[in-house]
């Protein structure tokens, strides 16, 4: 399970890094919102991976809260983003 955590953690890290680059670069605000969504999904994945490695279910409650926060964030950003571009 340690090897699994190593491989999966590396994948999560590279994915989060690439999404963060898009978050900084992203030409439109919607691109940034999408990158934030990906980052939150990766965060849920890391929390769940923590639960799998340590074989404890305490952190799974945080994953519920973070996944709901991701929905709230992207829905409200899509609703409230200004219409001017760039």
């Amino acid at each position: 399970m340690t090897l699994t955590a190593f491989i999966a953690g590396t994948m999560f890290g590279i994915g989060a890094l690439l999404a963060a680059i898009r978050l900084v670069k992203g030409p439109t605000q919607i691109d940034r919102s999408v990158a934030l969504d990906v980052l939150l999904a990766i965060l849920v994945g890391v929390i769940v991976l923590t639960a799998a490695v340590s074989a404890s279910s305490i952190t799974l409650v945080i994953a519920v809260v973070v996944s709901l926060l991701g929905f709230l964030g992207s829905a409200s950003l899509a609703k409230l983003l200004p219409r001017d571009r760039r």
């Binding site: 919607i30 992207s74 899509a78």
Partner: protein, 141 residues
């Protein structure tokens, strides 16, 4: 656990399946990161970004459920998966709608475009009153 991290001799077959599910779920996150960075426009980035939210989370939950195997944990995992299945399409739809409206703002003639015509028929009604006589897609509102 005194050997190196490549020592996999203590894994049961269920642990192998759980590890494979977790690695594939993490692979979805990696692919989403690559695609969000590399894809050319907003629509395709949104398309790629929804992969870890549904398939990745589902595979990870499968892995954790196989690893922990207690009813309370499986209840929480099913709750997370159901919440993602309900909320991910809704938030993706809202984001795509906002992106679509932004991308067609400067289109010269968008009367053929129902999604935009419904949104903007009220705002542009004075200019188009002589053309479609109130029978546009948005006249029912």
């Amino acid at each position: 656990m005194t050997g190196s991290i490549f020592d996999v001799s203590d894994l049961t077959p269920v642990d192998w399946i759980a590890s494979a599910a977790i690695v594939f779920g993490a692979l979805m996150s990696l692919l989403a990161g690559v695609a969000v960075l590399r894809f050319p426009d907003t629509m395709s980035r949104i398309h790629a970004a929804t992969k870890p939210q549904v398939l990745g989370i589902m595979l990870l939950m499968l892995g954790v459920g196989l690893r922990l195997q207690s009813p309370a944990v499986i209840g929480v995992l099913v709750l997370i998966v159901v919440l993602q299945f309900v909320t991910a399409p809704v938030s993706a739809h809202l984001t795509v709608r906002a992106a679509y409206r932004h991308s067609v703002d400067d289109r010269v003639d968008d009367r053929e475009d129902d999604a935009v015509a419904i949104e903007e028929s009220a705002a542009l009604a004075p200019r188009r009153r002589g053309e479609n006589e109130g029978e546009g897609p948005g006249s029912g509102r």
